[in-house]
Symmetry: C2
Subunit: 344 residues, 2 copies
C-alpha cells in the first residue's frame, strides 16, 4: 500500500514518529508492505514552499491509497490572511479536493480514565462512547453565495447553508452503517424548528432509516444536544450531524472525554479513500517536549488500516494494544500532568 504521510506542525512530527513505529510493527507482524512518502503540509509547507498545500503534496496524496495526517497550524502563521492559513489552505482544501464527505470522530471515556473527564464523577462513571458522524464537504462551510454587500452601516455579510437530498442521504447512510456495527442507535442533530436545511435533513434521514429497521433513530435539536450530552452522555451512540453542528458536537464530545490526545478521526470519500488525523490540534504549547500523547495518531493509523485499506486484523491489533496500554496505567507526561492536576 502507498501511504502519504503529512506530519505537519507542532506536535505533528513527534507523534507521527511514534505512529510510524507502530506501522513498522504491523508490517512485520501481518506481513503487509507499506510504501510511505512524506510531504510537507501546513505551516512548514508555507515556510519551505510558500503554500500550505504545495503541488507536490497534493500530487503525492493523489498517488496514495490513504493519507496519514498529523496536525497543522500555530501562532507563527496566525497573522497570515485567512485564505492562506494552514487550516483553510490545506485542511479544508484537502477535504474539498478529495470529496471527503464522511467525517468519523469517535469519542469515549476509557475505563480507568474517568477522572480526566470534566463531568461530575457519577456522570462520567455512567460511561461515554459516542461516534460523531459529521458531514464534511457541504453545508454552510462551502455553500454559495457567501460574501459582503452594501455600504456603511447597512453593509452586510452573508453565508449560505445548503444541503441536497443526495448529500444528506450519503452521510445518513454512513451513520446507519456505523450504527449497525455499534449500539444500533442514531441520534440526528438538527435545528428543524428554524432551518429549512434541517427539515430536509430530517426527511431524508427518516427515508434512510427505513432500510435499517434494527437501528433506532432519534432527532434532537442542536441546543438540546449540547445540554443532554452533559447530563446523560451515555444515552448516545452514533450522532449524525451536518458540517457546522458536527464541528460543535464533536468538539464537545472530545472535551467530555478529557483526553483529546487519545482521539483519532477519519475523513473518507465514496471510494474509501481517506485522510486520518488526530482530533486535537497541533498543540504548539507542548510541542518538542516529548510529552504529547501519540495515541490519537496511532489510532488514526488504525482507522486508516480499517477504513481505507480494509486491513481489519491489523487495525484490531492496534486498538487492542492501545486498550491494554491504557489499562496498564501507562500514560504520557501530558495525560499524567492533567490527571495530577485533576486529582490534586
Amino acid at each position: 500500500y502507498k501511504i502519504a504521510v503529512l506530519a505537519g506542525d507542532g506536535i505533528g512530527p513527534e507523534v507521527m514518529f511514534e505512529a510510524k513505529k507502530v506501522l513498522a510493527a504491523v508490517s512485520s507482524k501481518f506481513n503487509i508492505k507499506f510504501n510511505l512518502s512524506e510531504f510537507d503540509v501546513g505551516g512548514i509547507a508555507i515556510d519551505n514552499h510558500g503554500h500550505a498545500l504545495p503541488d507536490a503534496t497534493l500530487k503525492g496524496c493523489e498517488a496514495a491509497d490513504a493519507i496519514l495526517f498529523g496536525s497543522i497550524g500555530g501562532p507563527k502563521w496566525d497573522s497570515l490572511p485567512l485564505e492562506q492559513r494552514p487550516e483553510r489552505a490545506a485542511l479544508l482544501a484537502l477535504r474539498g479536493h478529495f470529496d471527503l464527505f464522511s467525517n468519523l470522530r469517535p469519542a469515549k471515556i476509557y475505563p480507568g480514565l474517568e477522572a480526566l473527564s470534566p463531568l461530575r464523577a457519577d456522570i462520567a462513571a455512567s460511561g461515554f462512547d459516542v461516534l460523531v458522524i459529521r458531514e464534511l464537504t457541504s453545508g454552510i462551510y462551502f455553500g454559495k453565495p457567501k460574501g459582503l454587500e452594501g455600504e456603511g452601516e447597512e453593509q452586510y455579510a452573508f453565508d449560505t447553508m445548503r444541503y441536497s437530498r443526495r448529500e444528506i442521504r450519503r452521510i445518513a447512510i454512513s451513520a446507519f452503517e456505523a450504527a449497525m456495527k455499534r449500539g444500533k442507535k442514531v441520534t440526528s442533530v438538527d435545528k428543524a424548528n428554524v432551518l429549512v436545511c434541517s427539515r430536509l435533513w430530517r426527511e431524508v434521514t427518516e427515508e434512510v432509516a427505513l432500510d435499517y429497521p434494527e437501528v433506532k433513530l432519534e432527532h434532537i435539536y442542536i441546543d438540546n444536544a449540547t445540554m443532554q450530552l452533559l447530563r446523560y452522555p451515555n444515552s448516545f451512540d452514533v450522532m449524525l450531524c451536518s458540517n457546522l453542528f458536527g464541528d460543535i458536537i464533536s468538539d464537545e464530545c472530545a472535551m467530555i472525554t478529557g483526553s483529546m490526545g487519545l482521539l483519532p478521526s477519519a475523513s473518507i470519500n465514496g471510494s474509501g479513500f481517506g485522510l486520518f488525523e488526530p482530533a486535537g490540534g497541533s498543540a504548539p504549547d507542548i510541542a518538542g517536549q516529548g510529552i504529547a500523547n501519540p495515541i490519537a495518531q496511532i489510532l488514526s493509523l488504525s482507522m486508516l488500516l480499517r477504513f481505507s485499506l480494509n486491513e481489519t486484523a491489523a487495525a484490531d491489533a492496534i486498538d487492542q494494544a492501545v486498550l491494554q496500554t491504557l489499562a496498564d496505567g501507562i500514560l504520557t507526561g501530558e495525560l499524567l500532568a492533567k490527571e495530577q492536576r485533576h486529582l490534586a
Copy 2:
C-alpha cells in the same frame, strides 16, 4: 405600569402564580402601581382561539410597558405544522414583531448548589457566572432567501445567515454595556475561520471595543467555546453571540448550572421594551405537581423591573430575597429531587 402577563402552557401558569405574589409584595413595599392584563399564548391560545398568538394578545402586548412571559408548548401541539406550533407562531413572532434583538441569558452556579452542576466537583467549585448576550432577530433564523429548490436527489434546501454592521454593532454595544456592570470582559463567539458573517462580526466588535477601553475583548471559535466552558467555566464573564451560536451557548451554560429552573432571560428592543421569560421550557412532565421551581419566573420579573421599567431598587430586593432563600437551603421539590439523585 402596564404589564402584559402571558403565562402560557405546562408549568407556566403555576410559576406565574408565584411571580405575581412577588409582584404584589414589591408593589406594596415600594409603592409602585402595576396594572396586569392576562392573555392566552401558545398551546392554550391555540385551543381557545385557534392561533398561538391571537390578535388580542398582540394588541395587549403593544399596549403594555413590558411582557412577563411564562413558557409555551407541549406534546399536545407537537404534531401541528411547524409554522403553527407555539414556539414559532408565538415566540419567534413576538421577537420579530417587537424587534427584541438583545437577549440576555444569565447563568450561574449559586453558592451551595454546586452539586447540581454536571461538571466535576473541582471544576464546579471554581465558580461559574456568565451572561450570554444573544442576538435574537437576525442571523440564520430570519435571513432571506430560505427555501427548497430542484428535483429528485438534487433537490436542495438553503438557509441564509446574514448580518449587517448595524445589527452587529447594536448587540455588541449591549454586551459591552453589560460587561461594564460586571467583570469587564467580553468573549465574542464566532466561526471566523469559515463564515464571512463571523469576520464582519469580529471587525465590528473590535470597533465597538474602542469605546470601552476598560473592557477586555476576546474572540473564540464556537467549537472551542463549547469545550472551554466545560474545562474552564470560570474564565468567562459576558459571552457575545449571534442568534444560532447564542442558542447553543446559552443552553450549554444553563445546563452547566444544573438548575434550569433558576434561570431567567430577557429579550429587549432599542427602546427598552422587553419580553421576560424563564430560560427553561414548559416542562410538561412536571406540570401540575406543584414541584416546579418558580425562581426563574421570579427572576424574570426582576429583570423586567430592572431593564424595562428602570425600577432598580425593586429588582435588587427580589434578587436579594432569592439569594437569601437559596442560601437558607430552601429548595423546591424539583431541585431537591435532582440534588438527591445526584448525591445518591
